[in-house]
């Protein structure tokens, strides 16, 4: 119990350093986009946040699978915490995407942006995950139901992506694309550092949250023993 927790400060410090490096690189190292100018720099946050949200959902589903398949103790809690992180990063994706849409297309919301619509669907789906989880008594039943629903999520991501691509044909004849000109080497390097920083941040948050939740459940067990 104590050994994974002692790594958390190191991970958090690493995330802080990486995030500072990413911000510095976005500000000073990455060249300004020829088309969109300064506003394109939100790309270095928006896309890494979105990819990190996918990573969180994927990790949550992986832990859900481990719970159902191997009956790994604690996998249920890990799956829940990962999905919780994913929802936070998903909400941030919606916010940053909305800001970017306002600046480059002049509207706060664009149904023609596939990624934004996909994140809205996923956000609704995973918000329902919380509704499900908090309306079932804690115990093995809740762990199973949450795990099955989390597995539905990873199937829903590609299926929804495909569906939203298809829907553009009859809902929007024209499609904005957020792909500007090809990324230069310096842009790509900045993007990679930003993404690594975001993943480290998510990892650090995940471990902090997990430690807190584990402490909670230990405390509850002790209370029940005393009562």
């Amino acid at each position: 119990m104590s050994s994974p927790n002692s790594r958390v400060p190191a991970l958090a410090a690493l995330a802080l350093v990486a995030m500072a490096a990413a911000v510095a690189m976005v500000a000073f190292f990455a060249p300004e986009d020829a088309d969109q100018g300064l506003s394109q720099k939100i790309f270095y946050f928006h896309v890494p946040i979105a990819l990190t949200a996918y990573a969180c959902f994927g990790w949550g589903a992986w832990k859900a699978l481990r719970h159902l398949w191997k009956r790994e103790p604690g996998a249920d809690l890990e799956s829940y915490v990962a999905i919780h992180q994913g929802v936070i990063f998903g909400a941030l994706t919606l916010v940053t995407g909305s800001i970017w849409a306002k600046i480059s297309w002049g509207v706060w919301w664009a149904w023609s942006s596939n990624q934004l619509v996909l994140f809205l669907v996923l956000f609704l789906f995973y918000a329902a995950y919380f509704m499900l989880r908090f309306s079932v008594e804690p115990g093995p039943r809740r762990a199973n139901l949450s795990a099955v629903y989390a597995l539905f999520g990873v199937a829903l991501i590609p299926v929804s992506f495909l569906a939203i691509r298809l829907a553009n044909d009859f809902i929007h004849p024209t499609v904005f694309t957020s792909n500007g000109p090809q990324m230069s080497g310096r842009m790509f390097a900045t993007f990679c550092v930003s993404w690594a920083a975001m993943l480290l941040l998510a990892g650090a948050l995940y471990h902090v949250e997990l430690a807190g939740k584990r402490l909670d459940s230990r405390l509850r067990e002790l209370r029940e023993l005393l009562a």
């Binding site: 669907v121 996923l122 789906f125 079932v136 008594e137 495909l162």
Partner: protein, 212 residues
């Protein structure tokens, strides 16, 4: 073979129960026709034919949802679920039997809904729409039955099912509306893909929904 016999028995039990009690199907029929009448008054006179198709899909999804909220009601009220889980058959047979009976209800409701839609809106229903509806029914029943099983285990019950179901139904609606209003067979193919993916997941995971 005994797996299929179990499934058939379970589905027959639900259909016979419905024939005797008439709990679900009359409600679905009345709901879908009332919804279509309401939709008539929501469309302005010069609204396009395509908008009517969109509303048809709203009506179908919500009618299915109405039936699905009653899906495990009998089992829950009479505490039959424990008996079914203890029965010496594969647990996925419970899901498959239930999904088949739900499919029967939904198809019965649509045999009224589609002619009523054609009568009220004169949209010109073609074969692709029928194929879209048929494939969407499979997906709705497969996913909806499993989610109804989840919702039945929760405190919120009927309240929870639409929240769980609608995000998963968005691809079905896209495929269905696409099949109705846009050309090309790829929407029908997409619906078939959806059905295959989610039917496999539901079949494999239903056991965990009803057991601890």
């Amino acid at each position: 073979m005994s797996y299929l016999a179990d499934v058939a028995t379970l589905a027959r039990k639900d259909l016979r129960l419905e024939l005797r009690a008439r709990d679900t199907l009359p409600a679905m029929l009345l709901f879908v026709v009332s919804t279509l009448v309401v939709f008539h008054f929501t469309l302005p006179r010069d609204a396009s034919r395509l908008a009517a198709f969109g509303l048809l899909w709203v009506a179908l999804v919500f009618t299915a949802l109405l039936g699905l909220t009653r899906c495990f009601a009998a089992e829950r009220e009479q505490d039959v679920m424990d008996g079914l889980v203890l029965a010496p058959s594969d647990r996925s047979a419970i899901w498959l039997g239930k999904a088949i009976s739900m499919l029967a209800f939904l198809v019965a409701a649509e045999t009224v809904a589609l002619p009523a839609f054609a009568l009220f809106f004169d949209p010109g229903i073609d074969g692709r729409t029928i194929a879209g509806v048929a494939l969407a029914d499979l997906g709705i029943c497969a996913v909806g039955t499993l989610l109804a099983g989840m919702a039945a285990a929760s405190r919120a019950r009927e309240l929870l099912l639409p929240l769980l179901f609608l995000p998963l139904a968005i691809p079905i609606v896209i495929g269905g509306v696409g099949a109705s209003v846009a050309g090309g067979s790829r929407y029908v193919e997409f619906l078939a893909l959806y059905d295959a993916i989610f039917a496999i997941i539901c079949w494999a995971s239903f056991e965990y929904v009803v057991t601890e």
